[in-house]
């Protein structure tokens, strides 16, 4: 406890306030997010000034001149802060400002509670092995989910007009109308017993039926089915991440000198990825980035191939997932640039490393080009992966429905599997796109690393 505790509180509440403000700005209005951010910032500054005042009044050097100056500045700052708070209260919604104001205090209370709970015997017994903790976490999550859904249901039935609390309502009505009046062409498709034969009817583009669309069709009024349908790519990508974690844990549980098949396979994959990435990045920087890039490859490959399993869907055929992946790569590449080159080095890199009069003259041209190139990288990464996987899915759906229409005169519950050759094409594209995403991310990292022999430097030396 003490000043170090307060510093940790500041850090945590900074993060929490930023994330909460972003979430509020996303799901409510930007103004509401601004209000939460302003409230949290006000509260944080207030806490900092209070801390300074108390330190100045009670510290070792409390009678000296600097301490007095510090105390007076802290008091003056608080005066200014109160005026600012009054201005904020007149401009922004007071309830949201209050919510933001509470965030640092909530962090303090939670951290103090954690300090009390963590050393207790019961907590240590709970966390000694992962399974009891997992069970408790699952029970807590299920309870929270039941409470919140029950709450939103009672709200929805109570007023009937609270569309804001139930974002799935319009989707549900759209689906009901689809379910009751299916298009005549899709009537045959629904009868098809072939797992790949039934393109799902929904608001978005037509896809193969997967577990979640089937469930949301079977339970059109259940809240959990709407939840699953709404967050379908998230659910699938979490499931895939969970499966990868399980496989990795099983493969590395008790490593042997003479490995079994699972350990052997995992070692082969890791070694191949390691060699591949270190070949590109070089032995100095390579090993540091192998875990991230290798995970990226395995994860994207699993997500791409997941759509080929009957009743499953590729999360990467949704633009949101690929944009998220590309943004991670983008932020990490900039972070690498800042860490390895320094802030000035990063600016120098963005300006095209001017070393001569011509180089300095070209800076106004090179800086925008480089900045736009940086911003174009994540867009091209995301669109490439999404377009390939989505296009491949669409191709399969198109040929599968063609196969159904070919036999539709016979009223049979089967179709000609015309999409069979394209499944092999899909295998190829899935692997290739995972590889391309990983390789391009590696190249983007390489361009940010201070290498003597990478492309930019070579060009610069040639030009001079």
């Amino acid at each position: 406890m003490g000043l170090e505790f307060l510093a940790r509180v500041r850090r945590s509440s900074l993060w929490l306030g930023a994330v909460t403000a972003l979430a509020v700005a996303t799901y409510a209005t930007p103004n509401a997010g601004l209000a939460v951010a302003a409230g949290a910032a006000w509260s944080l500054v207030n806490l900092i000034l209070l801390e300074r005042l108390i330190v100045a009044l009670t510290g070792m050097d409390r009678r000296t001149l600097p301490a007095t100056v510090r105390a007076i500045t802290a008091i003056g700052g608080m005066m200014a802060l109160f005026v600012a708070g009054w201005l904020l209260l007149t401009r922004l919604p007071a309830a949201l400002l209050m919510a933001g104001f509470v965030i640092p205090h909530a962090v303090i209370v939670l951290k103090a509670l954690a300090l009390l709970v963590l050393p207790t015997r019961a907590w240590q017994r709970l966390t000694r092995t992962p399974w009891p903790a997992l069970v408790v976490a699952v029970v807590l999550a299920a309870g929270w989910w039941a409470v919140t859904t029950g709450w939103s249901q009672s709200q929805g039935s109570g007023s009937g007009a609270t569309a804001g609390s139930d974002p799935h309502a319009p989707a549900a009505t759209a689906q009901d109308s689809h379910g009751t009046a299916p298009a005549p062409a899709a009537g045959d498709a629904h009868g098809a017993a072939d797992a790949h034969g039934a393109p799902a009817e929904e608001a978005g583009p037509e896809k193969f039926a997967n577990v979640i669309t089937v469930l949301s069709r079977a339970f059109p009024h259940a809240t959990w089915a709407h939840f699953l349908h709404h967050y379908e790519p998230v659910v699938y990508s979490l499931l895939i991440a969970f499966i990868i974690c399980l496989v990795a844990m099983a493969a590395t549980r008790n490593p042997k000198l003479i490995p079994g098949p699972l350990q052997n396979g995992a070692e082969m994959v890791v070694e191949a990825l390691y060699n591949f990435i270190v070949d590109i990045l070089g032995p100095r920087f390579g090993p540091r980035y192998v875990p991230f890039l290798g995970t990226l490859f395995v994860y994207i490959l699993a997500m791409n191939l997941f759509g080929l399993i009957p009743f499953m869907d590729s999360p990467t055929s949704n633009l949101n997932v690929t944009v998220a992946l590309a943004l991670i790569v983008f932020v990490y590449a900039q972070y690498i640039g800042f860490r390895e080159l320094g802030v000035l080095g990063w600016v120098d890199h963005m300006a095209g490393s001017p070393r001569s009069a011509i180089g300095w003259g070209l800076v106004p041209l090179m800086l925008p080009i480089h900045l736009m190139g940086e911003l174009a990288k994540p867009i091209s990464l995301a669109c490439r992966l999404f377009g390939n996987i989505f296009g491949e899915d669409m191709l399969l759906v198109a040929f599968a429905s063609l196969g159904i229409t070919v036999l539709s005169f016979a009223n049979l519950p089967i179709g000609v599997p015309l999409h069979l050759p394209f499944l092999f094409l899909a295998l190829l594209t899935s692997t290739l796109q995972a590889l391309v995403f990983t390789v391009l991310s590696t190249i983007y990292f390489l361009l940010m690393l201070p290498h003597a022999d990478h492309g930019h430097e070579g060009e610069a030396q040639h030009a001079h």
Partner: protein, 78 residues
């Protein structure tokens, strides 16, 4: 020609043009890489890596056209 008709004509033709451009580019990349491998078979791995990267960059142009097509497809139905 109204907006919908223009989109109805323009989207398929545009995606075809983009595919032609990418196809020419991919052909050039492939032929260059094959010649390079033929001259220096020991550098196959490096050449293939560079080939895949450049092929992905060339192919991305068609994918952009494809994504644009899907973004604008909803406008045709009105």
């Amino acid at each position: 020609m109204d907006f919908h008709a223009a989109l109805g004509w323009g989207l398929p033709v545009g995606i075809g043009l983009a595919a032609i451009g990418s196809g020419i580019g991919l052909g050039g990349i492939g032929s260059g890489a094959m010649q390079a491998i033929g001259r220096q078979p020991e550098a196959t791995a490096k050449i293939q890596l560079a080939m895949i990267i450049i092929a992905a960059l060339a192919e991305a142009l068609t994918i952009y056209a494809f994504v644009t097509m899907f973004l604008l497809k909803g406008q045709i139905a009105g």
